[in-house]
Each structure stands twice: as structure tokens, then as C-alpha cells.
Amino acid sequence: MIEFSLEVECRIIQAVLPEIGKLFALSSKVEDFSDLFPDLDDPELKEAWIEGLMEEAKVDRTALARLLKSPRLPYGRVEVEDDDVDDLLRGLTEIRFTIRKTSLKEVTDEEIETGMSSLSSTKPEVRIGYFAYLLIAEIQERLIEEIS
């Protein structure tokens, strides 16, 4: 079991988690693997490729669901079974892509990378999406540090 505490205030985590829950529910609808297939002239391979990615994404989402349901997460405590680490890392990545395509779709890459200095003037849904994006990045970074 890997365990660590996030360096994020609990009230922020508790404010953001419901939004992450909503985005999690959206992930399977938003994420489309069909454009990922390399430009190869092989329809059968394409079908198997996309189906494979979709099936494996379900496993990743299950690991993420376990984390989101953890009663200690709202208090900044992350607990992950060793076998779940890879799936969870991928699940966290997927939800960051979902946030990028939904809550943060109007924000430029540059704004995100430089920390969105104009955060106070953005719409509430963008602001909460951005905090969710950062919280998930924090979990991912800490988890990678723990396994490195």
C-alpha cells in the first residue's frame, strides 16, 4: 500500500471533489479513442486497437473510482494499493484530459502552464475546473515520486 498526504488545504479538496466526481462521470462519454489510431490501412487492427484502449480505460477508471470513494481523500490522505498504481496514474491522466476538453476548453495552453494569473476574473466553472486539474496533477506527481 502506498500512502501519502497531499499538501493542499482540506477545504479546497472538499470543494473540488464533487466537481471531479461529475467530470469522472463524463470521462467515458467525452474520451474518444477513435482518433488515436495511427494512420495505417488496416480496418481490423483499427477496430481491435480502439476496443482494446476502451476496455483498458475501464480498468483505469475503476482504480480512480476507488480513490475518489476513499473516506480519507477529503482530508488529503491518498491510499493506493500497489497493484492499482499504474491504472490509477492512467485514470488520473484521462480525467485531466476530460477537464481540459470541458471545463477548461476556453483556456489556452499557455494560460494553464503559466498558472492562470487571471483566475479571479474567470467564470466559476472554469475556476473550479482549474482547481480540479491542479489537484489531480498534485496527486499524480506525488504518486510518481512515491514509486520512483
Binding site: 495511427p38 491522466t93 481540459r100 510518481i144
Partner: protein
């Protein structure tokens, strides 16, 4: 550079830089060009493919390094070098080789949600 050799009857067929050449086994003459154009045969032979990872605005740098280490078994230095190439130049060629293995790597990288494409290594 690509060199493929196979035998038909008394001839060795040599494909070098997309040129089809013949080599007479009995007379040991030097190879001469037969065709300049690519043929279907060429397709069947193992053309090297490049596995290329593209930059994206979402994935964290340490995540990308971790994925390169996991998928290719690269050490930290090599994985970091490729990550920096992706970040600074927009893409990096991670691997070159046989198509089937290239597809395998591309699939694994996509499973980790890294934007990956395959290109023939001309």
C-alpha cells in the same frame, strides 16, 4: 538505410535504398538495378517504422519520463532526454524498427495517453 536479401532460383535479390537489384549466384556478377520503383514486395519486407511521441498540454513531465522508462526500459537520463525533445521540439522519435513491434509500442504509449504516431523510416 535498408538492406534486404532473399533468393529466387540462382538469383539473390537485394533491396538497398528502395532499389531492387539482382545478384547472379553462379556467375558472381555485381548487383545491377532491376527496378527503381517500390514494389509490393518492398511492402512485405520489414520496412523500419518510427514510433513518435507528440507534445501535449496535459501530461506532466515526470509522468512522461515515467512512461518512457516503463514502456521502453530506458534509464532516467535517456527518458528525460526524450521528454525534453517532446516538450521543446514538439515531438521525439522514441524507437525505430519492425512494424509489429512499433505498433506494440505505440499501443502501449497510447494506453498511457501519450499522443503517439507511427511513420515509415524513409
Amino acid at each position: 538505410m535498408k538492406i534486404c536479401i532473399f533468393t529466387i532460383g540462382i538469383y539473390e535479390i537485394l533491396i538497398y535504398k528502395d532499389k531492387l537489384m539482382s545478384f547472379d549466384l553462379l556467375n558472381s556478377t555485381l548487383a545491377t538495378p532491376l527496378l527503381d520503383e517500390k514494389t509490393e514486395l518492398d511492402e512485405c519486407l520489414a520496412t523500419p517504422w518510427k514510433v513518435i511521441v507528440l507534445n501535449d498540454p496535459v501530461n506532466l513531465m515526470n509522468y512522461v519520463v515515467m512512461v518512457f522508462k516503463k514502456v521502453f526500459g530506458y534509464n532516467d537520463t535517456k527518458a528525460t532526454k526524450h521528454m525534453k525533445e517532446v516538450h521543446e521540439q514538439g515531438k521525439s522519435v522514441l524507437w525505430v524498427g519492425e512494424r509489429e513491434q512499433a505498433e506494440n509500442y505505440a499501443y502501449q504509449l497510447q494506453r498511457w495517453r501519450l499522443q503517439t504516431i507511427l511513420e515509415k523510416d524513409d
